[in-house]
């Protein structure tokens, strides 16, 4: 993973621009903030003062206001830093959106640990696992700013429940092909599924290996048929799942997709067994969770064997 350079719009900037464009043309669209990112929408607020709603540092209210807007026929976008969007007001997400049977577009920033100097309070590796406890959510975990635009525009035009998980980190290039799994590399020994911002690390870790590498930026609904096709084309039904959030979050979906096949699954992601009380850089935390290229390569070799010769 690399950090997006100054010349490339970040996911956050792309998000603000795309939402603003939608607000200029679609009177249903409103954005609800809890102070965070208010500056990104300051100009928009001048044009649409009733549709840029900053509730202050009140995240329960932020989500509920989104629900109330939807009940009034609006298309709310609710946005904050990940833990304060998904974890703190989780009951509001469950009841004021899902249980009311209304939709919203939830957009988080901060990835799992984009800013480790802020510590555990600003990390949210469990966001998608939490949303998995609720029905009806479409979830995108883009790996590049360009992968954000299409699903965000579709979400803004819809009326369903959509979560987009943004990060300051990015792959060097976009890989997504719509909402289905993209095939980045083809091989025989097994299938590695890289999600979002893990793709470049997975490609580096599997350089020279005889494996198929799949890529997902849209994780719910999970493209089970796409995974089945890739597994069927390989010699063995061995799957490595690499996610930039809580380890094994999508494992039930892999199991469901391959339910009638004897298969093996190894899940990589943010570790569940302990909290890492450490600051440093995102790369430090990649290493601590085994999500750096070396850690991913070690885990894949241990799981698949060493089919490629000296290096593999």
């Amino acid at each position: 993973m690399t950090t997006t350079t100054a010349t490339t719009p970040t996911m956050r900037e792309t998000f603000a621009r795309t939402v603003t464009e939608a607000m200029d043309t679609d009177p249903r669209v409103a954005i609800v903030l809890a102070e965070i990112s208010r500056d990104l929408f300051a100009d928009t607020a001048l044009r649409h003062p009733d549709r840029v709603i900053n509730v202050g540092i009140r995240e329960q209210l932020m989500v509920s206001v989104g629900g109330g807007l939807a009940l009034a026929g609006m298309r709310p976008v609710v946005h904050s830093y990940g833990p304060f969007l998904v974890e703190r007001p989780f009951e509001q997400i469950k009841l004021d959106l899902g249980h009311q049977d209304v939709g919203a577009v939830l957009v988080s920033i901060g990835g799992s640990y984009d800013d480790p100097v802020w510590g555990r309070t600003h990390q949210v590796p469990g966001d998608i696992a939490l949303l998995d406890t609720l029905p009806g959510w479409t979830v995108h975990s883009p790996g590049h700013p360009a992968e954000l635009i299409r699903p965000l525009r579709a979400a803004l035009a819809g009326d369903d429940r959509v979560y987009l998980r943004l990060s300051t980190r990015s792959n060097a290039q976009p890989y997504a092909r719509g909402t289905e799994l993209a095939i980045l590399r083809e091989g025989r020994r097994g299938v590695v599924l890289a999600v979002g911002t893990t793709a470049d690390a997975v490609l580096a870790a599997t350089e020279g290996a005889d494996v198929t590498v799949l890529y997902a930026a849209t994780v719910r609904p999970f493209d089970g048929p796409g995974l089945r096709r890739a597994v069927a084309a390989a010699d063995r039904a061995d799957v490595v799942l690499v996610e930039p959030y809580l380890r094994g979050t999508s494992a039930p979906h892999v199991s469901d997709a391959l339910a009638d096949l004897p298969h093996r699954l190894r899940s990589l992601g943010v570790r569940r067994d302990r909290e890492i009380h450490a600051y440093g850089t995102p790369e430090d935390h990649d290493a601590a969770h085994g999500l750096d290229p070396a850690g991913i390569a070690t885990a894949i070799r241990a799981f698949l064997g060493n089919p490629g010769g000296p290096t593999w």
Binding site: P27, A30, V32, D50, R51, I53, V55, G56, R58, Q60, L61, S64, V65, G66, G67, G68, L69, A70, L71, A72, G73, M74, P76, E91, Q92, L95, D96, H99, Q100, D101
Partner: protein, 234 residues
């Protein structure tokens, strides 16, 4: 007993409608504490009717205190939103009426509630949405209980609604003094200090309730504290 004759119902019919539902005793007092407020709202205040549920210019009523919804269901039945016959099967698996209302199941129910502290924040959002779409007539009226105000989410909503001057938002706090820790200096003061117009009335007095709901409060949201003697006897 009449069944779905379409005959016009009055306030005096509500106790009989409530007795068609069976619930645990815990909810009975709560149901009765809201009966007068609900009747005044649906009979005289809210611009709402069964055939207007798709009309974006209708008033909204959000029952936030979803516990003890029997009086609510009775009023909805009396006003023709639901058939009286469904009261008899309440809380059964295939009944639309549960001990907490579900807007997906019940015509006329605007929000699903049960967990406390959700209705007022939702209502703030709806008031903002109506304002953003240029609808300056519809009211959004929320009913909360005094103990429900313990939930911090309400205070996020009270502060913001006051600052934004959401005139079309009304909260009625049915105060039967059920909170353990109480509200020194009164509930109305909590709203007033945040910029709301706040009125305290007898929660059984229909004329006082009507006046409190309908007197102007320009530029401010309205809080009506409806006092109910502890026990909610009827």
């Amino acid at each position: 007993m009449r069944v779905d004759t379409g005959e016009k119902r009055g306030f005096a019919d509500l106790p009989a409608l409530i007795t068609r539902m069976t619930g645990d005793e815990k909810h009975s007092a709560a149901a009765n504490s809201t009966m007068d407020v609900l009747w005044v709202l649906y009979d005289r205040v809210l611009d709402i009717a069964p055939d207007r549920m798709a009309d974006q210019d209708r008033d909204r009523f959000y029952l936030s205190k979803g516990h003890g919804p029997m009086a609510y269901y009775a009023v909805l039945a009396a006003k023709g939103f639901i058939r009286e016959s469904i009261l008899d099967k309440w809380a059964a698996f295939d009944s639309p009426l549960g001990q907490h209302p579900d807007r997906v199941l019940v015509p006329g129910v605007e929000i699903s509630s049960g967990s406390l502290g959700h209705g007022l924040p939702l209502a703030v959002g709806t008031a903002l949405g109506l304002r953003a779409t240029g609808r300056d007539q519809p009211r959004v009226v929320v009913l909360v209980g005094d103990a429900e105000l313990d939930e911090g989410s309400n205070h996020e909503a009270i502060a913001l609604a006051g600052r934004l001057g959401l005139e079309r938002l009304t909260v009625v706090v049915v105060n039967n003094f059920s909170g353990t820790h109480g509200w020194p200096d009164g509930i109305a003061a909590r709203f007033a200090v945040e910029g709301w117009a706040a009125r305290t009335v007898d929660g059984r007095d229909h004329e006082d309730l009507y006046a409190a709901f309908t007197a102007p409060h320009p530029g401010r949201p309205l809080a009506v504290e409806a006092l109910i003697k502890p026990g909610g006897s009827q």
